[in-house]
């Protein structure tokens, strides 16, 4: 009998934990540098018990949602403009490509100077980190629309405004959703990165606290939480949307 996918996964992660525990038991490194899985779980349990973990998660996710929402709205508008107006593409389009090559963390100094150590500063970093991925994917999506869709819609009386909402966005949606997915990935990195440097609540802040207290198990615990949220959003939220879109648009 072939082992199921779930069984394989469980086996794999169980193995990692066993090896980890084995390395810890071998006492090669001191405990304060290389904690055991139990230490990390204990640390997570502390975080749950005093709710500081939930507070951290909630703060980070709130910043992510606000930033990503702004980035998605802005990226959609910018991407559609670039795809429909050649001059906008030739001018702003080249700038967008350039800006996208700047890692979002590189915006942090500017954000601190402009906004101080505030929520707004962190959200600024998230928006800047995510907006260009949404823009570029939206642009590509709109450029790749089957021209017959647009012609059929115009033929049936659609004006440019109606065209955007009723044809351009839905027709480009398979691309736009990859833009959202990339945007979310950049945004999540941006949130954590910015929080580390801003040191102003959130999961990134908890990471920094762990470092300042020399608490390696807290650092690892928070990293696991960050990864867990990433897996959840990618593997559950986006996978569901993507599956539906791919099927309905006839892409598989």
């Amino acid at each position: 009998m072939k082992p199921s996918l779930l069984a394989k996964k469980i086996g794999f992660y169980a193995m990692i934990i066993i090896v980890w525990q084995g390395l810890d038991s071998a006492d090669i490194w001191p405990d304060n540098i290389f904690p055991s899985p139990v230490d990390v779980v204990e640390d997570l349990a502390y975080g749950v018990a005093d709710a500081s973990l939930f507070y951290g998660i909630g703060t980070s996710i709130l910043r992510l949602i606000i930033g990503l929402t702004i980035a998605i709205a802005g990226g959609l508008v910018l991407g559609i403009f670039m795809a429909r107006v050649e001059t906008v593409n030739q001018t702003i389009g080249s700038l967008v490509l350039g800006l996208q090559s700047i890692p979002s963390i590189a915006w942090v100094p500017l954000a601190i100077l402009w906004f101080g150590l505030t929520d707004t500063g962190i959200i600024f970093v998230v928006v800047i980190g995510a907006i260009f991925a949404v823009t570029i994917n939206t642009y590509t999506g709109v450029k790749n629309i089957n021209p017959s869709y647009i012609e059929a819609a115009r033929n049936m009386g659609a004006k440019e405004g109606q065209l955007i909402t009723s044809i351009l966005i839905p027709a480009a949606f398979p691309f736009i959703i990859s833009g959202f997915k990339q945007g979310w990935a950049f945004a999540w990195r941006g949130v954590i990165g910015a929080e580390l440097l801003f040191s102003f609540l959130g999961l990134g802040f908890l990471l920094n606290v762990g470092r300042q207290l020399n608490d390696v198990s807290q650092v690892i615990a928070i990293m696991i939480v960050i990864m867990g949220i990433g897996i959840l959003v990618d593997g559950v939220v986006f996978k569901k949307i993507e599956d539906k879109v791919m099927t309905r648009w006839g892409l598989r």
Binding site: S148, E151, N155, M156, P170
Partner: protein, 251 residues
């Protein structure tokens, strides 16, 4: 009404940096309620002519008139049925069919009422909530035709709508198309490269020349309806048209 006139339509395309004449003075009167088929070799500009009539492309010379009014834009008075249907995959069958009505701001109840009538006519009622990926090619073309009919256009412009269908489905749709035409009394301009199809459908068949496209000859098909593909009496028409068409295809 739906009297479509084409006056001296000329069209050039740029090919390798040089203008290439595609349409060379198309003069044509399509009377209200006529079913005109255009056949021609591929690249003769028959689709381009249809697109110009639909207002999706501008002619370099000449004019299209609908009921004596010159036209210079696309609009729901002349609805085009595309070769591959151009159905919207993100909408289900009913929403596809209602698209043009929704754009025009017609309230939901009224939309449903109209779309049900045409879904019923095209035998699509049980597929109303299906998405296009769940439909066969023949079904998709039915939806495309229903979507065009709900607009109640003066003129229906059809660009090889049955080209991708298997023979059985095509025969079926060719008969249905005649019934729909008889029922709705629409003016139809139908482009195809299939002579048998043109003879079955058309009250008149126009043969286009090889590029640059001109009307080479026209044939009146006075024969009872609905015509079926096995009917041998249609063969002489086909042969006459083929005799005109063959030299053009070989050019």
């Amino acid at each position: 009404m739906g009297k479509l006139e084409s006056r001296n339509i000329e069209k050039y395309f740029i090919h390798d940096g040089k203008p290439l004449k595609t349409l060379d003075g198309i003069d044509l009167n399509v009377e209200d309620g006529e079913f005109v088929c255009i056949v021609g070799p591929s690249g003769c500009g028959k689709t381009t002519f249809l697109r110009i009539a639909a207002g999706l492309e501008k002619p370099d010379e000449g004019q299209i008139l609908l009921d004596n009014q010159p036209l210079n834009n696309t609009g729901p008075d002349r609805i085009m049925v595309f070769q591959e249907g151009a159905l919207f995959p993100w909408l289900n069958v009913q929403d596809n069919v209602e698209y043009g009505l929704k754009i025009a701001g017609i309230p939901k109840e009224k939309r449903n009422q109209i779309s049900h009538r045409y879904l019923d006519m095209m035998q699509l009622t049980q597929f109303a909530t299906s998405y296009t990926y769940q439909l066969s090619t023949g079904m998709k073309q039915r939806v495309a035709i229903a979507r065009a009919l709900v607009m109640e256009p003066d003129v229906l412009l059809m660009d090889e709508p049955f080209a991708a269908l298997d023979a059985q489905t095509r025969d079926l749709l060719l008969v249905e198309m005649q019934l729909i035409w008889q029922k709705t009394k629409k003016t139809i301009v139908f482009v195809t490269h299939n002579v048998a199809e043109a003879v079955m459908l058309g009250t008149r068949v126009l043969v286009f020349t090889h590029r640059p496209g001109r009307i080479k000859k026209e044939f009146k098909i006075d024969y009872k309806r609905p015509r079926i593909s096995e009917d041998e009496n249609l063969l002489p028409y086909q042969q006459k048209i083929l005799a005109e068409l063959r030299p053009e295809v070989k050019k």
